[in-house]
Symmetry: C2
Subunit: 327 residues, 2 copies
């Protein structure tokens, strides 16, 4: 194993070699209480006390989901873990473990990879989970995968399919912040910092998922494609329509300012921006919303044309979400 210094002072992944790289990563990943057998064997063993395990997987690609000049390795570690952990809490479960795939060019700085591992660890620690295993390979750009596991602790999973006419529609967490951050960065700015940071490190409302499950949320999902698109997925799965009230969404001052400065519509960021990993859920009318949830609309019977999502009673005029293969 060689550990030569590059001119810039940092060692590259190719210089360190696969096994040295893995050893360095593992030293940064302490094992949590749910990890019965951590990294280093063919597979890990994770506690699944409930007798069921919740599982979700995500890919993140350099140039598509992040740019190294906009986000540090640590930001990317936070973001990858957050995206994946949010899917677990969106079922009403508590995350227990993450496994991660990392493919990168041989000239990637080892420091970047170590920062990435730090970000993973820090984000997992917010929910008491840990990184229990992974795989590394070489690629022309950085390609990341993560799979999160979670525990339902005896409650039924909250799917997208249980919303009923008359239910309240509510959200927890930020909306439109990451999308506004991307717009700001794309225009060459680095502020407002709050929005740029929201793109770099989403802040999913982790506690809100299990709390919604505990009070009997009828349906729930993670907002990753944009609120209108994800509300539409939930409406389709439940066979209902959803009407959102545009006035219900708080617009923080930095977002209002950025919208003004850039000639953008803040409501569009809120309704169509993904990547904040807010939660969207429906609750029976009599249920008081748990802390952190705000009511933003109502579930209606599906109309003659089937399930639909409207804003203030009418169709929203604009792009509704994200297709990864759209040009």
């Amino acid at each position: 194993m060689q550990a030569l210094r590059r001119p810039g002072g940092s060692v590259s992944v190719g210089e360190l070699g696969e096994f040295g790289l893995i050893a360095g990563i593992l030293a940064r990943l302490p094992q949590g209480a749910s990890s019965l057998l951590g990294p280093g064997d063919d597979a890990a063993v994770v506690r699944a006390t409930d007798g069921r395990v919740v599982v979700s997987t995500d890919l993140m690609l350099e140039g598509r989901h992040f740019r190294r000049d906009w986000s540090s390795g640590r930001d990317v570690g936070h973001k990858l873990a957050a995206a994946n952990l949010a899917d677990i809490v969106a079922m009403g479960a508590t995350p227990t473990a993450l496994v991660v795939g990392l493919a990168c060019p041989a000239d990637t700085a080892v420091d970047w990879v170590n920062d990435f591992a730090d970000g993973l660890r820090e984000e997992c620690a917010l929910v008491g989970a840990s990184v229990v295993g992974g795989d590394v390979s070489r690629a022309d750009v950085i390609m990341l995968s993560a799979t999160a596991l979670g525990d339902l602790a005896g409650v039924p999973p909250v799917t997208r399919a249980g919303a009923r006419a008359g239910d309240a529609v509510a959200v927890a967490g930020r909306l439109g912040h990451a999308a506004a951050g991307i717009t700001v960065l794309t225009r060459g700015f680095r502020s407002p910092r709050m929005l740029v940071e929201a793109h770099r490190r989403p802040q999913p409302p982790y506690a809100a998922g299990p709390q919604a499950a505990a009070v009997g949320a009828t349906a729930m999902c993670d907002v990753s494609d944009g609120l209108l698109a994800d509300a539409s997925h939930l409406a389709d799965a439940s066979g209902v329509s959803i009407d959102l009230r545009s006035g219900a969404f708080p617009v923080p001052e930095p977002m209002a300012n950025a919208a003004n400065a850039l000639g953008h519509d803040a409501l569009r960021w809120i309704l169509t921006g993904g990547d904040d990993h807010a939660l969207l859920a429906t609750f029976a009318p009599a249920v008081p919303l748990p802390a952190g949830w705000i009511r933003v609309g109502e579930v209606l019977e599906a109309g003659e044309d089937g399930p639909a999502v409207t804003v203030d009673g009418g169709p929203y005029d604009g792009p509704q979400g994200h297709d990864h293969f759209a040009r």
Copy 2:
């Protein structure tokens, strides 16, 4: 959603769009008995009756782990699932579920992706598992990730760390076949078919893992980096040395013929080739080996220089394994 025909007659992923692509994939993936909630929600829910879940993840990249002119989509589906499921049985567990990430160029033929899904389904069916979820994205080359889950059914996991001096060393499954297949393909040949097929679709000895666990195998691992490299990992984890007997390894006639024709050493394929996903395990001396296992060596006390792997009592002269970042 558009479904235009390309000149060649097949629809591309970009033409079909993300949601149409996913719908087509899901139609090919029936859910097994362990899938309590399959694809389509934020996360899946998988039975984990044992109260623990075994988890392992792998990446596979076009140009590095497979080539589209050498392997069909179906081959690649088989190979990705096999690599991942083998890690689960190497712990002594039975696979229950797979989640898969697929990133591909917009001009990828939808037929390729559907074939890939068919391969995943067919390989999972061999062990009673199913694909319960996934993620799709766009990339410049095909990048795949898979995470497999498994159930230990009440037995302790068989790690790499339990081998003791005096134990028998045994293997189950093929060795060197996939490596010989790559050599054959690299030299521009397409036969012997048995070797080329072994590269395209490994045949891990799935039943042999839980069977070894049932008779109390002291240590076990999947042979993915090459027998010498993986034996070395097992020896290091157990703090022992391992001596292999070169005469113990059967050399099938097509491999002997290919070695002759290409001026290659068949034993080197067997000792250093990965990707067949054979199993390597150690058993207490008195234990009769389960069906399918052959004895290939012995566990020794580690020497003064620490754990080592020898062949016929001496060091093996040649490259020992695979570093993903080696040039």
